[in-house]
Symmetry: C2
Subunit: 255 residues, 2 copies
């Protein structure tokens, strides 16, 4: 048997999990479930490295992870077996054998997160676990203007949920888009705002605090011109509230 | 205050309910929840008539129901209040005041049900409650041929789940379509078969038994030519197994 480095792409509905990162014995995390299942399956201790953590309740459609395993099986068979034993709210959508040096977190060049807000008259029933329902008239242009000020390399201390963060909070956001999407189902129309953030890395809770702050701009509680001051303050208190976890999805990871 | 006849359109995810129809005291049905909530809200006994029953676990995106209520409120306000007090897996998407003689069940001219089957390599995570996952290669042309034999006016006793049905089992199916739909999410492709049935009325479990039988044709276990004999037998034993509830959605009701 040879040691293989397996890179997998994962989807999960995060609703009932305590996030990505393993937490020890009383574990209800995505990483914990994967490691437990793989270790049993292959009868060896397997450690799974994700591209990054997702908070409790956050979803993923394109999370990437990797693990080393001694096996004669190919990637298709490994993916098959994993999907057979994983709970129905986690699925492996792709698997490949990669260079032994590949590491899902260390090699990640960029990530995209999407935050969905349903703003219409009717509450979405079937997507309620993945979309924040906020039936308000939001000023999209003001939010776009505010978002522009956040793009680029900045110290995002004001948007970091970890107040004891000792490492650098400098990150680069390469793009923020806010798309207005209208869908219909059973004759009902649904209006949705889709916030998309791409960057080289995100701090703890960062996307949710960015969204919460942008929504306050959309509601007219803050002005787009305040963004520069919020960044300069390097103080969590200066930014807005954190948007709920369930509206957020890790969309893709680039290598 | 005047007595109003209110016609509402409803969406619900049926997963945690015992179907549409009220069942007395230990009630966990859609109708029961609506009547309980409306009776409290308007401080009067309110009876809700649906266009028809849906089985336990079956969903709706266009269920229609009506109820009489003494109120000064208009339809928009009634809908608003209902949505405020309904659980998040039930939503009113439309409300209007209609003629006092309108009855959601008696006046229904046609109904459309949709049954969704995901057939691809990857199990859908986010739609798993609304789609049957059956990762098999199905013969769609054979299923379409079999479906043709079911269209028209027939005695559907063989497709009725209630073996003690004493009334006529003659119904007219005006159309069955089987569409192949491909969607993608996070780089993963999903293949889906969408069975759509339109008719003037459906017997208990009828759509699920039709789908179960068509899937057996798709799997090569039955031939399309067997459909005539199954109808002629007027015997539940002659048809196929009943497909699971969670793949089925009441799509729309015509008046």
């Amino acid at each position: 048997m040879s040691s293989k480095n397996v890179r997998i792409t994962l989807q999960y509905e995060g609703s009932r999990y305590d996030g990505w990162q393993k937490q020890g014995n009383t574990d209800n995390t995505i990483q914990g479930r994967l490691e437990e299942m793989l270790s049993k399956l292959f009868e060896q201790t397997i450690e799974v490295n994700g591209s990054g953590r997702t908070d409790a309740g956050v979803h993923a459609v394109g999370q990437v992870a990797s693990f080393h395993v001694n096996t004669v099986l190919g990637p298709g068979k490994i993916m098959d077996m994993m999907n057979r034993y994983l709970p129905k709210d986690i699925a492996v959508t792709d698997a490949e054998i990669v260079d032994a040096r590949f590491h899902a977190r260390l090699n990640a060049r960029a990530k995209t997160y999407v935050y969905r807000v349903s703003t219409g008259f009717v509450r979405p029933v079937f997507e309620r676990r993945e979309v924040l329902y906020l039936p308000e008239s939001l000023d999209v242009e003001a939010m776009r203007k505010a978002a522009e000020a956040l793009v680029g390399e900045h110290d995002f201390t004001s948007f970091c949920g970890n107040r004891h963060m000792k490492k650098s909070c400098v990150r680069t956001i390469t793009g923020i888009t806010i798309d207005e999407v209208t869908t219909s189902l059973g004759g009902a129309e649904y209006e949705e705002l889709r916030f998309s953030f791409t960057g080289n890395g995100f701090l703890q809770n960062m996307v949710r605090i960015l969204v919460g702050t942008l929504l306050e701009v959309g509601e007219g509680k803050r002005k787009p011109s305040e963004m520069e001051g919020i960044l300069a303050a390097k103080d969590r208190e200066s930014a807005g509230t954190m948007a709920p976890a369930h509206g957020l999805t890790l969309w893709s990871v680039e290598y």
